[in-house]
């Protein structure tokens, strides 16, 4: 269980998070959405322990984040960040094995099995001896996902354990650069993990992916939570217009279990405030 209470954070004089309130339960797949600069990634990184100068309180399973040592944090949560830049020619298997670093002091019975399992689950087992920098962007993203999975798991099978109250997974735009098949697979994996009790928080840009997989959606605007709740209530044309500045229609189709968000291209163009501003001259 994660409780973010009154968290504010600023870089220099620029406030990025303002009195942020957020609660998430184990086993939930939460999706953070918002326009660029709304504070999604910063919130995720603060929860990941990157910024120590936040005000307010972040409780992870009842423990204040400030008081948790780095390795204890690493055994409870895994993070997939954007823009990883690994230049050293480590092999794919070596990169995934780095995920086990936090467990180096404890018994390492399953390390090898977990790494192999993660490689297979993300369909990068065939690439395991390839040098990481030679992979394509999407393949690299899958390898990183496998590494993060290896950090999260405590047994070489997804369904072997119940992780309720033990594990949290933070994903910052996890599907960027992946082809459509692997986007679906990656998010299905996130759903599977959430069913095993893992608390998953993901930053996504794609309404369709969010609608299909999220149990709870948070809309962020100007460093605050603007709206939160199940997909059906949060993904409304009104909220989307306020948070993203685009006009959309939310459609329902009998073949589709979730709402479809469609942008009204023409309307968006002509009602955009930028265009009005230029027209004023």
């Amino acid at each position: 269980m994660l409780v973010v209470k009154d968290v504010s954070l600023s870089f220099g004089n620029v406030p990025v998070l303002a009195q942020m309130q957020l609660q998430a339960q184990p086993g939930e797949l939460c999706v953070l959405m918002g326009a660029n600069g709304a504070g999604k990634s910063t919130l995720l990184r603060t929860i990941a322990g990157e910024y120590k100068h936040y005000r307010g309180s972040i409780l992870l399973n009842g423990q204040e984040l400030h008081h948790m040592p780095v390795d204890a944090q690493a055994r409870q949560r895994a993070v997939l960040s954007q823009q990883l830049n690994l230049q050293m020619p480590f092999t794919v298997a070596e990169v995934v094995a780095m995920g086990r670093y936090a467990y180096r002091a404890s018994e390492r019975l399953y390390d090898k099995e977990i790494v192999t399992y993660a490689l297979k689950l993300l369909q990068v087992y065939d690439l395991k001896d390839r040098s990481y920098p030679t992979l394509s962007g999407g393949q690299q993203q899958r390898v990183q996902m496998a590494r993060v999975l290896a950090q999260l798991l405590e047994a070489p099978a997804l369904h072997a354990m119940d992780y309720t109250g033990k594990k949290m997974l933070l994903l910052d735009e996890p599907v960027t650069g992946m082809d459509i098949l692997h986007q679906q697979l990656a998010l299905q994996l996130a759903v599977q993990l959430s069913r095993q009790g893992v608390l998953v928080i993901a930053v996504l840009h794609d309404f369709q992916l969010a609608a299909a997989y999220a149990q709870r959606v948070f809309f962020l605007k100007n460093g605050r939570v603007y709206a939160q709740g199940p997909v059906a209530t949060v993904l409304s044309p009104l909220h989307i217009r306020h948070c993203f500045g685009v006009d959309v229609s939310v459609l329902h189709h009998s073949l589709c279990a979730y709402p479809l968000v469609v942008t009204n291209t023409a309307a968006t163009l002509f009602s955009s405030s930028a265009l009005q501003a230029t027209n004023a001259y």
Binding site: A48, V70, R77, M88, F90, M98, G99, Y101
Partner: protein
Amino acid sequence: MQNKKSLSLSILSTALVFVMIIAIGTGAMHMSPLQVIGILLKGIGIQLPVTYTEQMPAVLWMIRLPRVVLAVIIGAGLGISGAALQGLFRNPLADPGLIGISAGASLTAAMLIVLHVYLPFMVSGSIFQTYAQNIITFLGAMLTVLIVFRMSVDGGRSIVSVMLLSGIAINALCSAFTGLMTYVADNEQLRNITFWTLGSLGGATWQTVLAVLPFVLVPVLMLPRMAPALNVFALGEQEAMHSGVQVNKLKTQLIIYATMAVAAGVAVAGIIGFIGLVVPHIIRQFTGPDHHILIPSTALAGAILLTVADLLCRTIIAPAELPVGIITAITGAPVFIWLILKEKRLIAV
């Protein structure tokens, strides 16, 4: 991985022993490898059926061996610190000179040469003096590194690119003051400073060996323990933190050990460039980037390279000898240029 590691380490250790025996045997009085082995083993009480002249053991024990052992120790320190710093900067072109180690040590050494008459504890020629000289040079190097490191700290973490820029600035400042020292130095001191900046193992005695040994031994024993964390660190500072690496502790330890390993050698032998840069690179071509293998291998390879370079510098124009820093620069700089050309695209990122 374990196989690859023992293979790499056994090849390099064999090569090191081989190179050491050749280097010990080569000089004005030539000794064959068998004679060298014979004399060395007699030292520990094993008699081999090898004949040698009476002077040979004296030359070996008093002149050749301390010099070769000093080359091994300093070379190991330079190699291992190169590997540690390249891991820290996550950049295969990082070098002990970049963060001010050499510049700080140079300045301190120049100050010691010029100002030592005013320092009461520096007069006697005892091992205490050599130790004091080493410790002061080490402290000078440490101080410059510390300034560079502090300059790069923002919000509790050090930014590596800022550290490189600070290194350039502090290097410039240090060389300005070193210039000032040369300006006020008399002829004898000037000669000393110049020779010192060119680097030489000429003054090797068992005393200098003992003075340098602990400074290199500690990093050689401690740095391999940091290999797992250094591997994860290659992913990036934030990712290393997410994976459970205590990033700030790791960075501080790396800088202290790298400075130790380089500064003590610099204090007795002067500036010997390019070994710290080139050795990790050559080793990585064979072993890959895994620090479990890389760190011990670079210590051995650095030792081999400096032993060979020192052998060359005292044989090429015998009976005179070249400063070893010139040899390492003449061979190292072209390798460096080749590396830059090869990795142009990586650097541009």
